[in-house]
């Protein structure tokens, strides 16, 4: 957010006359109406039907390209959890998981019931905090 952004925002907020368009631009409206009509009425308008087909094909291609978008969040948080920043929390969490699973598997275990929720919280907090700005750069 540079000074130019700030100034342009300032200018746009100060100007008392602003154009807000609730209506779609005329050209788009025509095409969309045409599309609906061609769906409803099969009679005539072969050209527009042809156009629609072309668009659909393009969309399908796009779908194939972006068939499985991968969420960057788990990867970023994994990296953060392993970074030097959170290594202490990770260490504690792993140690707790090891201890608790060992206690659960041991039938003679008579100690207090324990869980790793708190350790998980600390690790998660550290990792998400570290990943937040990176995630926001990756998202739109």
């Amino acid at each position: 957010m540079g000074i130019t952004d700030f100034l342009s925002d300032l200018m746009s907020s100060v100007s008392f006359v602003q154009e807000v368009h609730a209506e779609a631009p005329a050209e788009e409206e025509e095409s969309s109406e045409g599309g609906e009509e061609s769906k409803d009425d099969d009679a005539g308008e072969e050209e527009e039907g042809g156009d629609e087909g072309g668009e659909e094909e393009e969309e399908e291609e796009e779908e194939e390209e972006e068939e499985e978008p991968v969420d960057p969040k788990p990867k970023l948080e994994e990296e953060c959890a392993n970074s030097a920043q959170c290594v202490g929390y990770k260490h504690h969490f792993d140690e707790c998981v090891e201890r608790v699973t060992a206690a659960q598997e041991d039938p003679d275990h008579k100690g207090p019931h324990e869980d790793c929720v708190e350790e998980f919280f600390h690790l998660q907090h550290c990792a998400t905090q570290c990943a937040a700005p990176k995630l926001w750069k990756a998202l739109k």
């Binding site: 100060v14 209506e23 991968v70 929720v117 998980f120 998202l139």
Partner: protein, 323 residues
Amino acid sequence: MLATSAVRGTPLRAAARNIVRKTTTRAASSSSSEAASSPFYLTAGASAATVATIGSIAWYYHVYGRDVFAMTPAEEGLHPTQYPWEHAKWTKTFDHAALRRGFQVYREVCAACHSLTRIPYRALVGTMMTVDEAKALAEENEYDTEPNDEGEIEKRPGKLSDYIPAPYKNDEAARAANNGALPPDLSLMVKARHGGCNYIFSLLTGYPEEPPAGATVQSGLNFNPYFPGTGIAMARVLYDGLVEYEDGTPATTSQMAKDVVEFLNWTAEPEMDDRKKMGIKVLIIGTALLALSGWVKRYKWSPLKNRKIVYNPPVGRRSPPRP
């Protein structure tokens, strides 16, 4: 100014020197043996009072102690992470493309269980939809008409002035359909929850693969660290590629969560854009008036500030000699 100070200078300084001399002499004259010989019972009394004060405070803390926190961290829930929301900045508006995407996510995912009863279709016009799109959307649903001549209430297609319909008839129906848990209305959810946007984003994306070791999750509930108590009835709903954005944005889990949270922030604060604009106007007019008042004050006070007071002592008489 310079003249007045020069005129005033000498006598003032002389007077000051005089005062200083007097005080020093007086301090010298008062004997130090007097201060040292303050009675013992005064010192002892002050010390005892001090000790009693400190002791009573210490005793209070010993008896009542510090605050006792009955809530475990799990019951409290994990505090959401601060995300750098663009629309939360002082001079930024909502990203209306994101609002449109977020509304799509709401319609296709959230609307199955959550109502949005405070948002009419007309509010969508101009913020994320055109008039025709909003009308077409409204007409997909049926609403009650006014009673006709025979008192019958019929159904009519929705209009722009209608509100977005709820998925269930009432809260009881919603509870019955959701295993006893009521999906809350989302209209004001960003304002209603501690942490706002961060909380909802964290909640939507924070479902771990499996709960941490040793954590107990009741049947019918899911583990989510951000939900107070960590057991939430809502399962994870957002998965990569669940919706297909019309603008081609890759619909990852985080992207959908971000968009829908921004949309929910809009539903809670539809006036935000205007409010920020109004804030800038208030600042501009306020500073202008402040500056104006400063200059007017200067103008009005200038005769007073610029006057010169001169004392000319009468010539020929001398003041009596000082002792």
